[in-house]
Symmetry: C2
Subunit: 90 residues, 2 copies
DNA sequence: TGTGAAGTTTCGTAACTATGAAACTCTAAA
DNA sequence: TTTAGAGTTTCATAGTTACGAAACTTCACA
C-alpha cells in the first residue's frame, strides 16, 4: 500500500508527466502528438509514457503505424484537477 | 503558476512529508511529537517542516519551550485524501 | 527484401533528494 | 550566568531523476 503510494507519487511528481497525463486524460494520443503538444522530444515523451504505462496508469491501442496512449486510471484526472485547485489557493 | 505547481509537487512527493502533512492536518504538533509518531529523527522532522513551512504550507505557534506546527493550506488535506482514494483503485 | 515512419532503448551527465550524524542556537528559569 | 530542553543547521554521502543525443527496433507495404 505504501509502495503504491510511492508509485503514484513518483508518477505525478514530474511536471512533464503531469502534462502528459492531462493531455491523454480525455483523448488518446500518439507519442508524436504528445511530443509536439508538450514540446518535448519524442524520445523523452516515450520514456515518460513507458514509466506511466509500467506503473499501470495507461492503456495502449496499436493501429499501424501508430500507438495510441490513453489514461486507464481515470481517478488520476480528478487528482490533477484537485492539484490545480490547491495551487490556486496557494 | 507552473512554479507553484512545482512547489506543491515537491512538497508532497516524499512519503515522509506526506506523513507529516497528514499528522498535522487536524492537530498542531511539535517537532518532537512528529518525530516520535513518524519514527524519524527530530533533526529530519525539523528539516521537512522547514521545507513545508518555507513553501507556505504551515502555521507555527510558539509557546515556550515548544513550537507547534499545523497545516495552513487546508486544501492539502483533501489532496492527500484523494491520493489515498486513487491508491485504493490501483 | 529493403525502405521509411513510428516509436524505443541506451549511454552519459548534471542536478536534485533524503538521510544520518553531529554540531550548533535559542531562551526561560534557577 | 549557567543549564537544560527544544529545535535548527551543516556536512557528507548514497541514491534517484530528468534529460539530450544518438543508436536501435519494428513492421507494413512498395
Amino acid at each position: 500500500m505504501e509502495f503504491k503510494e510511492e508509485k503514484l507519487s513518483r508518477a505525478i511528481s514530474a511536471f512533464s508527466r503531469r502534462q502528459i497525463l492531462r493531455l491523454i486524460a480525455d483523448t488518446e494520443m500518439t507519442v508524436k502528438d504528445i511530443a509536439e503538444s508538450t514540446e518535448m522530444s519524442v524520445s523523452l515523451a516515450s520514456r515518460h509514457l513507458k514509466l506511466l504505462y509500467d506503473l499501470g496508469f495507461l492503456n495502449v491501442r496499436k493501429e499501424f503505424p501508430n500507438k495510441f496512449y490513453s489514461l486507464k486510471v481515470k481517478e488520476l484526472k480528478g487528482l490533477l484537477e484537485l492539484y490545480d485547485k490547491v495551487i490556486k489557493k496557494i
